[in-house]
Amino acid sequence: MSNIGSYEKRYENFDWNISAQELDYGKDGMYNIAYYCSDRIVEQGHGEKVALIWQGFIGETKHYTYLDIKIYSNNFARFLIEIGIAPGDRVCIFMDRLPELYISFLGILKMGGITQPLFSAFGEDALFTRLDDAQTKAIITTKKHTGKIRRIRDRLPALEKVIVVDANEKTAKGDEIAFNMEAVPKVEDFPVFKAGPETPSVLHYTSGTTGKPKGALHVHSSILAQYITAKWVLDITPDDIYWCTADPGWVTGTSYGIIGPWANGVTQAVFDSGFSSEKWYQFIEKYKITVWYTAPTAIRLLMKDGVAAVKKHNLNTLRHLVSVGEPLNAEAVVWSEQAFGKPFHDSYWQTETGSIVITNYPGMKIKAGSMGKAFPGITAIVVDQKTFQPIKIPGTVGLIALKPGWPSMFRTYWNNKVMYDAKFRNNWYICGDRASIDNEGYFWFVGRDDDVINTAGHLVGPFEIESALLEHEAVAESAAVGIPDSVNMEVVKAFVALKPGYEPNADLELSIMNYIRKKLSPLAMPQEIEFVDSLPKTRSGKIMRRLLRAKEWGQEIGDVSTLENE
């Protein structure tokens, strides 16, 4: 029997108080996420239970109990206060998937800070944009990533503290501070900051079609949604060994790589490694993973290596599989049944939603290729793309819209209320994705409603790429669009017009690729570059990405009446 039991009954009778009551949320005025993910579990008598199994690439392992998590996050919290960090300050975490990432996340929350995790593969420009926008006061990192910070720090006057968790007093450079969470005296008891349910907690940056990336701000009561969705959708129980492959630089890695599992008191495993199907299967086998939350891109990479690679291992412990990040194609669902004897369950949500909002539930009939149904407590519909009125005819494509008010919904975009307000129409939150709903209430994903590129489950903004491309010495103008990719769903393609004196060639192509990879991130790096004489523009000079994208996808190009040279 799954945790959710009957989806229909849960949907009919749902109340977010179910989650509040199970967590005893608000007891003695306590609303802080970090308390519910560590101290509370210890108080329940599970201090010796393993909270985190960590394995690095070369096979080194570490185990941390819930008591360890409590104390080491206390150590971080006390240290941050001692160096002058105050409640409400933004503290960035910028490192690979090390134990310190997961534990400092709670430490920041414990002292009242707003945690701002960023993907460690971000280049210096991407890092600068996000730290500058948030006016981040401190960054917690490792020696591996300090070079990028040093190159931009003089342009970040608000960034007062750089904390390096694997440095010591001899190796820390300049005013960088070495801090080893396990070497300092243990802080057994720390007065957890008395956040309110609406106190800001986590700031995750996400990309849009235009402008800079936006910081989606969440609050402490988001845990009500993250806890109950982890329990009902991921179906995790106290006996599970749970593996979320997402990096906490992205929202999945915090909502379901930290908050959801630890609020449920589960043992979770983290593998700090690049992709390798063989190593992933070894990891599942070694730690007897029972619940696995991963991405369609990873599943498609596993598919490339075939069922035989799976069958070399004993993966019988796996009992529930869930995916997130981009639509899960029907072939992947069928393949997972062949390979693992059970299907992957697709789940849909966004940085802004903070938790799963549409999904396939344990025990529910899966329609391969469908997104599933709305989570209990979530009212999800599709609305007309022009009028924003609800669509009532099954199978009609519209925009996915959610009724505001669930606990983990973002509260604003940092310093950008105009953009936040623009996400709402007729009192619906508009997700920006197109879908239809069939006559049984299943959602079917169609595509994005904007130019944002979804590559391997991560949103990449074309504007940010184009802006960076213009900084390359050879680029006169450019356009970035998503093109189809069998593994990553979409990858970035750049159309580039060169300045006089430059000729298209393979060296220049590679130079541009690496330039973007280092400036922004590997995700933003164009996997393909097409050199063109000029780009299609409107009469007002705006590049018509839509035309370029339609050509790549074999779609009708639509209205071109505003095209400059028509």
Partner: protein, 84 residues
Amino acid sequence: MIEEIKKLIIDYVKREYLEEDAEDEINESTPLISSGIVDSFSMVSLKTFIEKKFNIKIPDEKATTDAFDSVNNIIELLKEFNVT
């Protein structure tokens, strides 16, 4: 010849994928993709570099994460193109 190719690729990986003061030591058997030194997205730029240097076109079905996971693996791949 093989040693020259190995050095060419190692130098490229060090130059393009590691920070200047990185402590990582790279040799021909160092895992590249599975270690995270070169992620699966950046593998495309490594592939482009190799195709350009040796004037070959590596088809997608041969451009697997395993084939690019070390300099030795890449050498094995290049043998199929008679580069070595």
